[in-house]
């Protein structure tokens, strides 16, 4: 299995350059946290990794993002395949307008899994996010009936159901209460055995808690990155030190 290699990535929204010359290798099967103040391009960077930026007409992307050695921005690439293998968990839990069961089953269904194994897939996914016990007797209920914390777990189960290799988390705990947030963090820590996780967060403490590797973005530029241990104890750049000490941003 591979990781993602980002080479000379530049992204423009209309006239504004949101990302400037990003060069970064994402380590395999670890949690990489992308930190930085609001509006510095963290979400843009994340969304450039599964080509979700394609949805916005005004976006221009320059550079390459290599996954399995292949540039995902190559015109011949099948973008739905990319998105299957690089999944995304959004900030606000957004269940699809379907039942709990159908939410998890949606991905496998469109990829052609038959009904027989679907039950199994749904159950195992819900188990892996710790929801199975709570919902097993109301699988047909609309997903909107769940609490916000439960909905985010459901969205995670849904993303995992398509068996991605990499999981992108866009401030996925920002809308949750602290307890639920910790629950998701624990899940991510367990998941890194199997998946590579890249998470965007504005919460430095959260990064301290979960990250194995950290990248610091400031105004669209990658200021510093490295293993979490070293990053948090001996940051090299002054700006990093200032940000970690909460003097800026």
């Amino acid at each position: 299995m591979q990781t993602i290699a980002i080479n000379h990535l530049n992204v423009w929204y209309g006239r504004n350059q949101a990302l400037k010359e990003i060069n970064l290798h994402i380590p395999l099967r670890q949690i990489t946290a992308i930190i930085g103040p609001s509006g510095c391009g963290k979400s843009t960077l994340l969304k450039s990794l599964n080509r979700l930026l394609d949805l916005d007409e005004q976006v221009r992307v320059d550079g390459e993002v290599l996954f399995n050695g292949l540039n995902i921005y190559d015109p011949h690439v099948d973008v739905t395949d990319i998105r299957t293998r690089i999944g995304l968990l959004a900030q606000k839990p957004f269940p699809l307008p379907l039942s709990i069961y159908d939410n998890v089953a949606y991905g496998p269904r469109i990829h052609g899994r038959t009904n027989g194994s679907l039950d199994q897939i749904v159950q195992s996914r819900l188990e892996s996010v710790g929801l199975w016990e709570e919902v097993q007797d109301r699988l047909k209920a609309p997903a909107t009936a769940l609490s916000v914390g439960q909905q985010q777990r459901l969205c995670l189960a849904r993303s995992l159901a398509v068996e991605p290799e990499i999981l992108l988390c866009d401030e996925s705990t920002a809308s949750l209460d602290p307890l639920s947030a910790r629950g998701i963090e624990a899940l991510l820590r367990a998941l890194k055995e199997t998946y590579t996780v890249i998470m965007v967060t504005h919460d430095i403490d959260q990064a301290r808690r979960v990250a194995d590797y950290v990248a610091f973005l400031w105004l669209g530029e990658l200021v510093e990155h490295g293993p979490a241990q070293k990053f948090f104890t001996q940051p090299e750049k002054e700006l990093t030190q200032a940000y970690l000490a909460r003097e800026v941003g």
């Binding site: 099948d78 739905t80 395949d81 469109i110 052609g112």
Partner: protein, 282 residues
């Protein structure tokens, strides 16, 4: 990705594009047919003179009476519609906000937009009888005003809805009354109002069913509010209904004139929307 999924998407995209393309093709076809048949019969005489004595039997003259009549009808009814619609829209935005009553008013306006113009014509006719009026320019204006009022109101309403919220916030923060805010709002949305007026005017020129009973018809140029007046759509209809091919051909030419006028108005509306917008605060 499986071929089936790709194939399914391709099929539906092709179908949707075909439908839209078909619509564009039909538009082109309509304009082409009208242009082709209309141009043959068009002459300077047609648009510069009212019909002479035997016009409908093939004699001399033109449709100037109808052109002028339609312009008067549309202008008059647009004026009436403005006087009624602008206060309603301003009231909506200044006093009713987005509450239930506002929703009700908009629903009623939408319903009014959907009422066929023949119903408005029938009503205006009943009103005419009740007031002892005969078929006249005034009656036609009343009938037509009913048709275009909801169009003007809703179109203007949509434009005003686009005004930035900060406009209200900053105006009220200066201690303005609601009326004073509405004055500012009106100034901000004037280009949009102008566009809405143009669109309503264009609708007024083309409508036949509302003026059928009410404005009557005449071969004379419009003279007074209380006299019947000719209109372009009816002129087309009557010329087409004669058994003489030369007169029928004139119907095509009249249709060309009518379509041309409406397309020019639409063009003006689009242009005005973009040009005047430059002067407006964002």
């Amino acid at each position: 990705m499986s071929r089936r999924r790709k194939g399914e998407e391709r099929f539906f995209i092709f179908m949707m594009r075909a439908y839209l393309g078909g619509a564009a093709a039909v538009l082109a076809l309509i304009l082409a047919v009208i242009l082709w048949r209309g141009l043959e019969a068009l002459s300077w005489e047609m648009i510069s003179q009212p019909p002479q004595a035997a016009y409908y039997l093939g004699g001399d003259g033109g449709i100037l009476n109808a052109i002028a009549g339609s312009l008067y009808l549309a202008a008059g009814s647009t004026l009436v519609a403005i006087v009624l619609a602008v206060p309603v829209v301003l009231y909506l935005h200044g006093y009713l906000g987005n509450g239930r009553r506002a929703g009700l008013v908009r629903l009623v306006l939408d319903i009014m937009w959907g009422i066929p113009s023949i119903v408005y014509g029938a009503f205006a006719f009943a009103l005419m009888i009740f007031l002892g009026m005969r078929a006249s320019l005034l009656a036609g204006i009343i009938g037509l005003a009913l048709v275009i009022l909801p169009i003007l109101a809703r179109t203007f309403d949509e434009v005003v809805s686009l005004a930035p919220r900060q406009l209200a916030e900053s105006t009220y923060a200066l201690g303005a009354t609601r009326l004073e805010y509405l004055g500012i709002l009106l100034r901000q949305t004037l280009p949009g109002l102008f566009t809405a007026i143009l669109l309503a005017f264009g609708r007024g020129i083309g409508d036949a069913a509302a003026v059928l009973f009410t404005a009557g018809y005449t071969d004379r140029m419009p003279e007074s509010l209380m006299q019947p007046v000719a209109s372009l759509p009816l002129a087309i209809f009557f010329q087409l209904a004669t058994p003489f091919p030369e007169v029928q051909a004139r119907a095509y030419a009249s249709a060309l004139v009518l379509t041309a006028i409406i397309l020019v108005i639409s063009l003006l509306a689009h242009l005005s929307m973009s040009r005047l917008e430059r002067n407006v605060i964002r």
